[in-house]
Subunit: 404 residues, 2 copies
């Protein structure tokens, strides 16, 4: 398959990106790749200490998938090297040292989930202990000599901690070097990462230059805002949606997000074609309620298939209905012992403009009492002591009918 | 041989030291050592990229020798590990990467010179590549995790450079860790170093603690001030005296030092017993000229033996004489063609208080003309055209005699 024109590739690549450093070099690489019919090597590192993926992780995996769909080579690095070390200071309990077996298990879990997003057959999987684990002290000294302390402290989180006199363990300076060495070893053309990874990606670029290689492009994706609408999606903030969550849970959680997340989520974590995105942007602004259902449907279909998504939608429409009935529906009361024509009741509610419209609705199956469709235009409702019914007229009109 | 009482050992150990950290732990170690009849391990690292030793280096080597003489074990580490790396940034031309052969040659040169000071039979020599060279990246990360960046930047030279925005290569942070790891590996009891090494010695102490060992004592010696009397002795300042320099050169350079260095040099780089030092301190204050000759003699004898030292002294007494004649001696002129009694000439110079004294001096051989002793009290000096003679009266009085 020949590569798409560079402009078209760029349109896909730019989707949702925060920054491409430097973009002009990416253009050159894409041109050369197309000319030589040679795919680019796209690098993504993953942390096998946290094998459970959520939609936040999918941002970057989808970007990798887009590169695959454009014909480029995806290289997924299992960062088992540092995982085996864990946190040597013992202060970070969330970063325990993992055994080789645990890492292998975690990596399998990770890959099982990641391949729901990636094209498995076109993904190269490597373990960075293969090359980092063989480096000796003298190699580390040489590697470390490529960067200055000041440059390292420039990194956002380091400078913040340094200024706040919070301790930075010396070994933390070695991790970016290890990550950069991965790029040198793999000769990657592009490395993907969140915006919080910018520094580390740039280190890879510098080390490649130092090694005489054409340096990689650093492509930064935004951190997905979680369901709470404020913080980045993370297990620790409990504002996440796992990619293996049940269809209904996934659908429901998506419905819970604030309206201003609808479009960013479409852009960042769905497979809606780039050409269709403007349409969804408009809908998110003008009809957020239904746009959110579309988003929930799309995401659930991506991870659970179309029929599971349909079921989830039905379930939630019902849930929402029940919620709206209880929260918002008005109540109409009639004498206990009386029988009242349904046509008259609907006239009382004002849900229709005429008896003629009411009759058409009944004929079309648009009227129900307690979830049972009423098809008889002459139907009468009997009010006993303590009668309480839910009347639905059309798609969105509800009320309670009670005896008094 | 039983160990000396701890107090007596301390007196020797404290000689010339700037700081012992912490001294109370040293006392404990010495007490335990004496009780168990177990020598302490005294560590000294040396840099095989600079094999030519000067008296500045001898300060620390003499301290190690003193420990040997007290019955303790001297461990000399050849720092071949970092020497093989050199300066990986390539900016420091004085620190080229050395081959294994060069390092071996340099180490031999170093040891040949160092054993003029140390007791060769009682010196354990080790190469730190033996243990540092086998460390992997993951070991370095664990090692680095023991220290914080802030702690590292505290080091005098780092903080100065950091504040001045001068680049510090990241690998420079790894060298103190390597040196500290030497202490962990050797389980040293005491490490010796110059005051500029304090930080590095303390790192060893911390790493040993972290390893569950009894931490080493850090003993800092001053940096020897060079012959110029201002800067530390160093080849690059050309204010040094090599320990292999010819006897005359060594003697002469010592004579050139400012008076205020005489006593520190006695204390730091001679083997004058500690009990005799006060005597030399007094002499340095009251009679610096001769104290300096004593110092020159002592040092020359240490490195070249007593007879070479004597020859050097004779040579320099003569040199000094000639120098003083030319610089300071007054001139007395007499008519060309005249003959003048030596007694009258000496009376003219005022070098003696009476003719009686002059006659006694002549009798004792204390008067000479052009280096020839005059023994005849009635001697007359003949002045021709252009006569020019040097008259010496007693040990220190000179003048020129000229015709006019």
């Amino acid at each position: 398959m020949p590569f798409l024109p560079v402009d078209e590739q760029l349109e896909v690549i730019r989707r949702g990106t925060v920054e491409i450093v430097p973009e002009e070099e990416l253009v050159e690489k894409l041109e050369k790749s197309k000319k030589n019919n040679q795919p680019l090597k796209i690098k993504l590192g993953c942390d096998p200490t946290r094998p459970d993926l959520h939609l936040g992780h999918s941002v970057i995996l989808r970007k990798l998938r887009q590169f695959q769909d454009l014909g480029h080579e995806a290289i997924l690095i299992i960062g088992d090297f540092t995982a085996m070390i864990g946190d040597p200071t013992g202060q970070n309990e969330t970063r325990p040292a993992l055994s080789e077996v645990e890492i292998k298990e975690n990596a399998e879990t990770y890959l099982e989930q990641a391949t729901q997003i990636l094209d498995e057959d076109k993904t190269t999987i490597v373990y960075n202990s293969d090359w980092l684990g063989t480096m000796h002290f003298q190699d580390v000294i040489k590697l470390a000599s490529k960067l200055t302390v000041a440059r390292m402290i420039e990194r956002d989180d380091f400078s913040r901690r340094f200024e706040a006199n919070e301790p930075i363990s010396l070994h933390e300076f070695l991790y970016p070097l290890a990550q950069g060495q991965d790029s040198v070893h793999l000769r990657s053309d592009v490395e993907l990462g969140g915006t919080d990874q910018k520094f580390n990606l740039l280190v890879g670029r510098e080390l490649q230059k130092d090694d005489g290689q054409e340096p990689q492009i650093c492509l930064m994706m935004p951190l997905l805002v979680g369901t709470d609408g404020t913080k980045k999606m993370s297990k620790s903030y409990d504002n996440y949606i796992g990619i293996t969550e049940e269809a209904n849970d996934m659908y429901g959680k998506v419905l819970s997000i604030p309206d201003d997340l609808i479009y960013p989520w479409f852009e960042l974590i769905t497979d809606i074609p780039v050409d269709d995105l403007p349409k969804y942007k408009k809908k998110a602004e003008e009809d957020p309620r239904n746009a959110k259902h579309d988003l929930a449907f799309t995401l659930t279909a991506m991870y659970h298939g179309g029929s599971a998504a349909k079921e989830a939608r039905n379930y939630f429409e019902q849930t929402v209905i029940n919620k709206e009935i209880s929260d918002e529906a008005p109540t109409y009361e009639y004498e206990a012992g009386s029988e009242v024509r349904l046509l008259d009741i609907i006239a009382d509610t004002g849900f229709t403009e005429s008896n003629g419209q009411t009759k058409r609705l009944i004929k079309q199956g648009g009227v129900s009492i307690d979830d049972e469709k009423i098809t008889d235009k002459g139907y009468r409702v009997s009010f006993e002591e303590n009668t309480e019914l839910v009347l639905k007229v059309g798609k969105r009109n509800f009320c309670y009918l009670k005896s008094k």
